[in-house]
Symmetry: C2
């Protein structure tokens, strides 16, 4: 039976379009952070029509699929399970189309195109797709995960910049949903493309999208600011949004522990502070502008003036300039934490106003209940996102224990969701990895509705491993 289906798929996809040896499939069955499985075959269509045929064949034979873009997701949503019965539908070869509309400031792009390749194509036109991430995902994957990144405060997330898409549906099997018009204003019924944004690839296969793109900045200014305390971080944010709000493109908090980890493990980074003089907390601030500095707008001057007004009160110290060095510190945090012990990563969010109280409560919770765990938190304060990452040191008083990790997760998520009304998955999505937390924290009525939509779009439950219905 499976052989017959694979033969049918091979006839559609050709030799290059289907992989089945364990060696060829290896890189498709291991997730970027979590997830390890087996697969029947990797399907690699190179056209929208092939995706339609795959959907039709798989629906006909009830063969399950997981969708995969660049396999950079962090919740195992693109990884097959251990059964070996699931095929991987990789969109990596669907990448021939990149069509820029300069006057519309938009681009029509195949789902398999990578963020980097898209930006390389946009750059000669002075344009960019400015969702800034620590990976190089595919555009389809970015939509399925609704990625946010570090510059959300200026540009929004993927949803904000998605002008259109085309998807292949499982019901009717292989049907095309063409929403590629690429309009900024269009209210001709419900906006169906929203269904596919942030749904972890469970509702349909995105094959093409129209994205709003942005002018490349022609100047930027960066500062590393030491706030008086956690409340001062919000004071600084409020003043910056008032005095230079149009330019604020990043406002990233970094704990002293995170910066110390960077200093310890990547010492050549050009850290502006001596390792022994690292502050308890710092904020990386970036202003950017598309304006020529000759126009009279100088974001560095604006930033310096804004900080000067805050100096001695909300701001205790600040380094302005050296943007590349400062961003390298920020980007080196995740890697550095791995040297501190086993990573226990968090991707949470809450209203910005709750961040100081949450951080105090969370650090207190750890100190009380799990004193051997070290926190290396950092976060996107301007959008309420927080990577409250922890490490379990190899030399800790208590040896690493997966059951305790679960206790830590639940304790911290309970705090985030129940006490601060926040989110247990800010920008990584659900996927198998977060399935149990989805069940625990999402309301019964929301789960029922999301599950009904899933049953409507994928009646046989073939697409992905994420299940949105209430259990």
């Amino acid at each position: 039976m499976q052989e017959q289906v694979l033969a049918q798929l091979a006839a559609v996809l050709g030799e290059r379009g289907i992989l089945s040896s364990a060696e060829d499939c290896a890189r498709y069955v291991t997730g970027a952070r979590y997830g390890q499985g087996r697969t029947l075959a990797v399907l690699r269509p190179d056209s929208h029509e092939q995706v339609q045929q795959i959907a039709a064949i798989c629906a006909q034979h009830s063969m399950p699929l997981v969708l995969q873009g660049a396999n950079t997701g962090l919740v195992a949503a693109a990884t097959p399970d251990a059964s070996g019965r699931i095929a991987v539908l990789s969109l990596e070869r669907l990448k021939s189309h990149i069509e820029i509309d300069l006057d519309n400031r938009s681009v029509t792009v195949d789902a398999g195109v990578s963020l980097q390749d898209l930006n390389d194509a946009l750059e000669p036109h002075g344009l960019c797709f400015p969702i800034d991430l620590g990976a190089n995902p595919s555009i389809g994957g970015m939509i399925a995960a609704n990625t946010g990144g570090a510059r959300l405060i200026k540009y929004g997330d993927v949803r904000h910049n998605l002008l259109g898409l085309r998807a292949v549906l499982l019901d009717p099997p292989g049907a095309e949903l063409d929403l590629l018009a690429g309009l900024r204003k269009n209210n001709t019924g419900p906006d169906l493309k929203q269904l596919f944004v942030g749904s972890s690839g469970a509702y349909g296969v995105i094959t093409r999208a129209v994205l709003q793109v942005h002018r490349l900045p022609r100047q930027s200014a960066t500062a590393l600011v030491i706030p008086r305390d956690q409340d001062a971080v919000l004071e600084i944010l409020r003043v910056l949004e008032r005095d230079c709000g149009e330019f604020l493109s990043a406002f990233e908090g970094m704990s002293g522990a995170a910066m110390q980890a960077v200093a310890r493990h990547i010492p050549d980074l050009g850290n502006p502070f001596a390792p022994e003089a690292l502050p308890e907390y710092a904020v990386l601030i970036e202003l950017t502008s598309t304006s020529d500095p000759a126009s009279g707008i100088e974001v560095e001057t604006l930033l310096m003036n804004a900080l000067e007004n805050l100096f001695g009160d909300a701001v205790q110290n600040a380094v302005v300039g050296r943007g590349k060095d400062l961003w390298r510190i920020r980007h080196a945090i995740s890697e550095s934490i791995r040297h501190e012990g086993k990573l226990i990563a968090f991707d949470i969010a809450m209203v910005r106003s709750a961040l100081p109280a949450f951080r105090a409560r969370a650090l207190d919770l750890l100190a009380q209940r799990f004193p051997y765990i070290k926190a290396f938190d950092f976060g996107h304060w301007a959008d309420g996102g927080c990577h409250f990452n922890l490490a379990w040191p190899a030399d800790a008083a208590v040896a690493y224990d997966a059951a305790i990790v679960e206790q830590i997760r639940t304790a911290l998520y309970d705090l985030v969701v129940y006490e601060f009304g926040g989110s247990f998955s800010a920008e990584h999505g659900v996927g198998p990895y977060n399935q149990q937390y989805y069940q625990r924290y999402v309301s019964q009525n929301a789960k029922q509705l999301a599950g009904k939509i899933q049953s409507m779009l994928d009646p046989q439950g073939l697409l992905g491993l994420t299940r949105f219905g209430a259990q």
Copy 2:
């Protein structure tokens, strides 16, 4: 039977909460532009819980409802039909809650609060909800219509600023969907609140929302610019987005005919041009900034410099300053057209790059087939929106004929949708008024999916008169 249901509703809503005399109901059964009907009763809940009870009672007795906010919609989505069997569910009394979170830059607000009342509450804090419209709708209505307005290019539409909502569902009857967390990053499953945005009130009853709000600008600069020709409009837009993109808050095209209508009918407007010297086309440009002019940012200087660089080529002439006068001209267009004949309004959109060619084709189509019709078009070029409004003069060679109006509509919409890939309803929604065009222009697969969602959320089809399913 109906009497029994009304008695049950009256017991829930109290005396002030239900209206049934023709006199009391009159203002609820006439739409702002289209629609005139009759109603069984107007239900006026003043709490979310009352809305839940109404939904439960109406579902139990299969009593249809239309939702109404401030009754400012332009597609009759809030107006009952002539049967007299439909009750109006007015949210106008649901307006006690306005809760501002300064640090989160957001507000939690009841659905019945008006845009003006919200902005009055925000103004003392230096904040605003900047969706700029020619009416004063309720927040719930703005979400149901996904209003855009004249400043979308800077702030986005309602969808872009919606951080959360709470809705009452018809299935299970009266169930609450609480998505009020108000987060900027949250990807814990599909974003269910998107279903209720731009769905003309057909999917559920919005009772409360969390909105991202913005800093009030502390300076603005306005110019009326005469472009060389239609292509030059896009050239000017491109240069402005490059050189002062962070500040561009409006880019509104106005045809000479529209400006002449204003000059003829509202002569005291402070028009910078003599009526006989009005240009063929003009663009109203606005830059705003939250920055203090003392900070070194002066948007008026920026605007003048940008226009100076374009002068003699893309820009033939320009008046900078006099923002209030210039906006009064823009806002007076709709009213002025009414003096020119019977209004035939259009609310279309397309990719920005298509606007010059569309306009030429549309004017040519009118000249060829309907030469007695006059065009008074104006539009939001920066977001591709266009109000291609027409008037049928009282003294036209052909007398007004509703059947010909339908021919004109279909001919122009065919051009917009089939030849330019645009939208027949940019920001007004579907509603009964656009129902036939929805059927004509939306793809079969999109209609089937939207219809399936409608059946899922409202199995008895009780909510509103808009039907999204394929017919």
